[in-house]
Subunit: 593 residues, 2 copies
C-alpha cells in the first residue's frame, strides 16, 4: 500500500488553524509564505512517497543486522539517506548559517509527519540528528558548532542520544557511565549504554554520540551528570576523520517493531577509554539533554500522528476494495464494499478523528514554538513559549497513545487479513507500540505535565488554554446548528479539564500519590479537550470555506462532529476517575497484586 501525503489536510491546518500567514510575518521567517510552504510540502511528499515509503515494508522484512560490531542497514536505506541528505531535508528547521534552510517549525512539522508516515524506522536517524544539532546549537562552543553542525546537516555524519543504561531507564539519577578528565581538556569515557537508536549503522561516515556521564567528583543524582560528544571516529579541527574511537556496538536488539532501525548496545572504553569532549559545563548535562529531549518528544508525537495517518490510509483502501455482506438497512441484496457498513465507518471515523485531532494540536503547538522564538515582542514570545511547553508532553503522550488505538483499529478493519503479516496493517500495530515508551513514557510525560507544566505556574497556562477553549465555544455557539451542538460537548470537556487542573493544583503537595495516580488520565483528558478544541476551530473554518470545495470541507465538519460526539464525550468520565478514583487505584499493596 502506497502512502499519499495528505497535503490538502496539512495545508488546511497550517493556514486556517495555525495561521501560517502570521508565522510568515515574524522577523526572520519572511520567506516562509504559504506559497513556499506549499512548494516545500509538495517536494517532501514526492520524495517520501517515492523513495522512503516503499522501503517501509522492506525494512520490516529485512531489518538492520549486526555482525562483529558492524551494523548493515536494510537494503536501500543507505542510498535513500544519501538522497535525503543531498536534498537538504535534514536542515529544514536549522539555521542557514550552518547549511540549513531556517524554515519555521510550522513548515518543518508536516515534513516530519510525512517522513515518519513514509518510514518510521528510517526517520529515526534524522530525528536523533535533529536532537544532537539542537543540543550543540544551544550548549556547544562556537568551535563545536562549526565543526559538527554542518556535517550533521549535510548528512555526512549523524547524531545519537546516549542516555539509557541497563539500570537507568526513566531514572537518569542512576546513570553510571564515567568520564575521567585528561590533561588536554578531553575526557575518557567508560560505560555501557543501551537502546541507542541508530547507535551504529552504515549510512554515514561518522556518528556523533552525545553521551551522559559522570565526572569522578560529580555530586550524586541528576545534578552530577555531564554531556559529552563522543565521535565514532575522532575528528581533527577541520573535520577530517582520524582513528576509530573506543566506542563499539556489541549488539542490536530484536524488537517488536521499527525493525529497520538499529537499536544498539554501545560499549565505551573497553580499550582505554573513548575520547569525549565536554558540551557546555560539567554537571549541567541533564539540562542540555532536555533540549534534545524536548525537540525529540515533539517529533515522537508527530510519529504518532504519522503512523496513525498511514494506518488510516491502509484501512480505507482495504475497506473500499473488500466486498463482504449485504447492507444492514436492506438497501441491497448483494454484498457491498465494507466501507458501507456502519461499524466499519465508525472505525474509520475514529481513526480519522483521532489522527486529525492530534495533527491539529501538534501543528498549532509548532506555530506557538515559532512565535516563542521569533516574535518581536518579548511578552508575546514568553506567552507562546509557555503554551508550547505545556503542549509538548500532550503532543508526545496523547498522539502516541492514540496511535495504538488507531493502528489496532487498522488491523480490525482488515478482519482476518489484518493478522497476516503480508497485508501490512500489522506492521503499523507493531511499530507504533514503541512510541508511548521511548523519549519518556506516557507516565513521564504526564509527570512533566503535572510538575513543570501545571504546578510550577499554579495552573496559569492551563487556565489560559481553558479560556481560549471557551472563546471557541462561544464562536461555535454563535454559529448555531451543528456548531452549537459541538460547543456543548466542548464545554463539557473544558469544564472537566478545569476541574482536574484545579484538583491537581490543590492536591499535589499534600497528596502526591493520589494526583499522580491520575496523571496519565489527566494527560489523556487534556489531549482530548485540546484536540477537540482545535477540531471545533476546524469546523468553524470549514463552514466558512465550504463553498470552495463542499466535499472536502463537509468531511472536515463531519470529522469534527464525530470527534465531539465520540471522543469529547469521554471527558467527564475521565475527570471523575481522576478526582474520585485515586483511593481505589492505590488500594492494593505490593503483595496483593
Amino acid at each position: 500500500m502506497s502512502y499519499q501525503a495528505p497535503i490538502k489536510d496539512m495545508q488546511f491546518v497550517m493556514n486556517e488553524l495555525a495561521d501560517l500567514n502570521r508565522i510568515a510575518a515574524l522577523p526572520g521567517y519572511e520567506e516562509a509564505s504559504p506559497e513556499l510552504a506549499q512548494a516545500v510540502l509538495e517536494e517532501a511528499a514526492r520524495f517520501n512517497q517515492e523513495v522512503l515509503a516503499p522501503l517501509n515494508v522492506i525494512g520490516d522484512q529485512q531489518p538492520s543486522t549486526w555482525k562483529d560490531g558492524v551494523v548493515t542497514t536494510t537494503p536501500g536505506f543507505k542510498e535513500a539517506f544519501r538522497q535525503f541528505s543531498e536534498a537538504g531535508w535534514q536542515g529544514v528547521l536549522h539555521p542557514q548559517e550552518f547549511g540549513g534552510q531556517g524554515l519555521p517549525k510550522l513548515v518543518a512539522t508536516p515534513c516530519t509527519e510525512m517522513l515518519n508516515a513514509a518510514n518510521l524506522s528510517f526517520a529515526l536517524c534524522p530525528l536523533l540528528t535533529d536532537g544532537a544539532v539542537e543540543a550543540l546549537l544551544t550548549a556547544g562552543t562556537d568551535a563545536q558548532r562549526a565543526l559538527y553542525v554542518p556535517k550533521l546537516l549535510s548528512g555526512e555524519w549523524t547524531g545519537t542520544m546516549n542516555l539509557t543504561e541497563p539500570q537507568a531507564g526513566s531514572d537518569l539519577a542512576m546513570v553510571r557511565t564515567r568520564a575521567e578528565r585528561e590533561g588536554d581538556g578531553t575526557y575518557r569515557i567508560f560505560g555501557t549504554k543501551i537502546f541507542i537508536t541508530f547507535g551504529e549503522h552504515d549510512m554515514a561516515q561518522n556518528i556523533v554520540h552525545l553521551v551522559l556521564a559522570r565526572t569522578p567528583d560529580a555530586p550524586p543524582g541528576v545534578k552530577g551528570i555531564s554531556l559529552f560528544i563522543v565521535p565514532k571516529f575522532n575528528v581533527d579541527a577541520e573535520g577530517k576523520l582520524g582513528a576509530r574511537n573506543d566506542v563499539h556496538c556489541v549488539s542490536i536488539e530484536h524488537k517488536l517493531g521499527i525493525k529497520a532501525s538499529p537499536t544498539a548496545v554501545l560499549q565505551f572504553g573497553d580499550n582505554g577509554g573513548a575520547t569525549g569532549y565536554l558540551v557546555g559545563e560539567e554537571n549541567r548535562g541533564l539540562e542540555y539533554m532536555f533540549i534534545m529531549m524536548n525537540a525529540a518528544r515533539f517529533a515522537v508525537g508527530m510519529q504518532g500522528v504519522a503512523v496513525a495517518e498511514r494506518a488510516y490510509q491502509h484501512a480505507v483502501a482495504y475497506a473500499r476494495d473488500r466486498l463482504q455482506s449485504r447492507p444492514v438497512d436492506g438497501s441491497s441484496r448483494d454484498a457491498v464494499t465494507i466501507i458501507h457498513h456502519p461499524d466499519v465507518k465508525r472505525m474509520l471515523m475514529t481513526m480519522r478523528a483521532l489522527t486529525e485531532g492530534a495533527r491539529t494540536l501538534a501543528y498549532v503547538a509548532a506555530a506557538q514554538a515559532d512565535i516563542g522564538h521569533h516574535a518581536a515582542d518579548a511578552a508575546e514570545r514568553k506567552r507562546a513559549q509557555a503554551i508550547y511547553e505545556f503542549l509538548v508532553p500532550i503532543v508526545k503522550g496523547w498522539s502516541t497513545e492514540m496511535s495504538l488505538e488507531v493502528t489496532s483499529l487498522g488491523v480490525q478493519v482488515h478482519g482476518g487479513m489484518g493478522f497476516i503479516e503480508e497485508t501490512g496493517a500489522a506492521q503499523y500495530y507493531r511499530d507504533a507500540r514503541i512510541l508511548p515508551i521511548y523519549e519518556g513514557t506516557t507516565a513521564i510525560q504526564a509527570n512533566d505535565l503535572i510538575g513543570r507544566k501545571t504546578l510550577r505556574d499554579g495552573g496559569a497556562v492551563a487556565r489560559t488554554l481553558c479560556e481560549m477553549v471557551e472563546a471557541t465555544e462561544n464562536e461555535l455557539r454563535a454559529a448555531g446548528g451543528v456548531a452549537a451542538s459541538v460547543a456543548e460537548r466542548l464545554a463539557k470537556g473544558r469544564e472537566a479539564l478545569s476541574i482536574v487542573v484545579d484538583y491537581v493544583v490543590a492536591n499535589t503537595q499534600d497528596n502526591a500519590n493520589a494526583v499522580f495516580a491520575g496523571s496519565v488520565p489527566y494527560l489523556k483528558l487534556a489531549g482530548i479537550v485540546l484536540g477537540g478544541w482545535q477540531m471545533g476551530r476546524a469546523l468553524l473554518a470549514a463552514q466558512k470555506l465550504r463553498d470552495q470545495d463542499p466535499s472536502f470541507f463537509d468531511a472536515k465538519i463531519g470529522t469534527a462532529r464525530f470527534f465531539a460526539d465520540h471522543i469529547l464525550t469521554q471527558a467527564p468520565g475521565l475527570a471523575q476517575s481522576i478526582t474520585e478514583g485515586a483511593d481505589s487505584a492505590l488500594s492494593l499493596n505490593d503483595a496483593q497484586f
Copy 2:
C-alpha cells in the same frame, strides 16, 4: 516468566458468584462438588503450568512450519498433546458415554482459561475439536457420533471448522465450495478454504474437517449451505484409517501472533474430489455451524481472559523487580521498585480489574449454560439459556477487546524492555490481536447482540439483566460505605445501558444504519455494566468473607472499587455516543474518506 493458575481467584468466582453449589445440585451434575472442582482445577493447574506454559515462548520462536503439504508443529507440541489427551482434558465438558468426563461448563471454563493462559496457540487445537464434537453430538447420526466423538475425545483425532474462503469471511452467503452427490450417499467436495486453524498438523493420526459447502441445486445465500465431515484419512465403520482423502494443505500463514498454531489453506478436490459425509440435513449447515461457533465464541472470550491474566502476571513480576526512580511523594531518597509508582499501580489495577471483570461475567455465563441444559424445570432452563445466549457475544466481544488494552498495558509497564521480544510481554500483545477477529469479529458479535439477542425478544432479556443489576445496586446501597459508592457508579452504568437498550429496540427497524453505527459501543457498554455488576457482587461477597483472609478479600474489594471508579465511569459517555453520535459516524461517503 512462568504462569501460575489463579486458582483461588477462580474458586472465589465459581463458589461465590456463579454458585457452584447450585450447579452441583442440578440433575446429572451431582458429582461436581466444590471438592471435586478443586481437585480438577489443581490438576489442570499443574499440567498447564508444567507442561504447556513453558512451550508458549518456544512456539513463538519456532512456529509450526510447512513443507510439501506437511505441517510440523513446534518442538514439544506433539508430546504435550499426547499427555493432554491421555489425561483426558479434551473430554472435560463432554458426555461420559463417549469417554468424556461430563463436568459442568462452570468447571470446564476455568480449565479452558488455564489452558489458554498457558499456551494460546496450543489451546486452539482442543478448542476447535470441542466445536466439532458439539456439532456432531447435536446434528450427527448415531453412527457418526459413535465413530468420531470417542476418537476426538481421546486425542487420536482432532477437529477443525472450515468456513472461510478467500471471498467469504464474515459473509458465509458467499461460500462457493461445492459438494456433489455420489450414488453411495457420500459427496465429492471441491473448493478452497482459508484460515483453517490446525487444518494440518502432526499431533494426531487423523483430522476431522467439518466443512461448509453447497450442493448443486442448493438455494443461494446462507440457506443453501450444508455441513460435511471430510476426514484427512478416510475411515471405515470401525474407525480404522484408510486412504488419504483428497484434501491438502497448500500453505500456512505468516502471522502477527499465535505463531505456533498452524493456520492452513486447504484445497479440496484437486484429484477428483474429497469424500465428504453429510451432517444432518442438506441446507441446514449454517445452523449446525452455529452450534460449533457458539461454543467456540465463548471459548475465544476465555482466550481473552486468559491472555490478559498471563500478561498481568508478567507485568506484576516485572514491576516488583524493576528498581527505578524515587517515589513521587518524597517518602524515600532511593529508587524503589516500580510497583510503588502510582501510574504503574494504575496500569496494573486496570489490567487486573478488566481481567477479573471479564472472568466473573464469563463464569457466571457458564453457570447459566449449565442451568439452561440441566435444570429440572423447563421455564428455568429457558430463562437461563436465554441469559447465556445474550451473554455469549459480550463474553466473546468484550473479553477479547479488553485483552488488547490489557496486553498493551503489559508492554507499557515494562517500559523499553517491553518492546524487546526476549522480554515476552510483546508476545501477548501480538497473540491477543487475533481474538477480536476470529470466530466472528467484534462487529459480528455486536450484530448478534442487537439482532438475535436484543431485538428478537424486544429487549426482554436485556431488561431482565438490568433488573438483576438493579437488585445488586440495592444490596450494595444497603451495605453502605464503599459498597454504596460502587452502587452509585453501577446505577449510572445500568441507566446508561437501559437507555441504549430502549434506543436499539425503538430505532433498528426504521434506522438500522444509525443503530448499527453504535453496535460495538453497545457491546462494550454491556460488557462494562454487566462486568461491573459482577464486580459489585464480588465486593459484597468479599466483605462477608473478609475476616477469613483480609489481604485477599481486601484486594477483591479494592479491585471492585477500581472497576467502578475507572471503568464503569465510561458508561454514560458511551451511551451518549451511541444515542446521539450516529449522524456524525455516518456523515462521510465513500469518496470522502
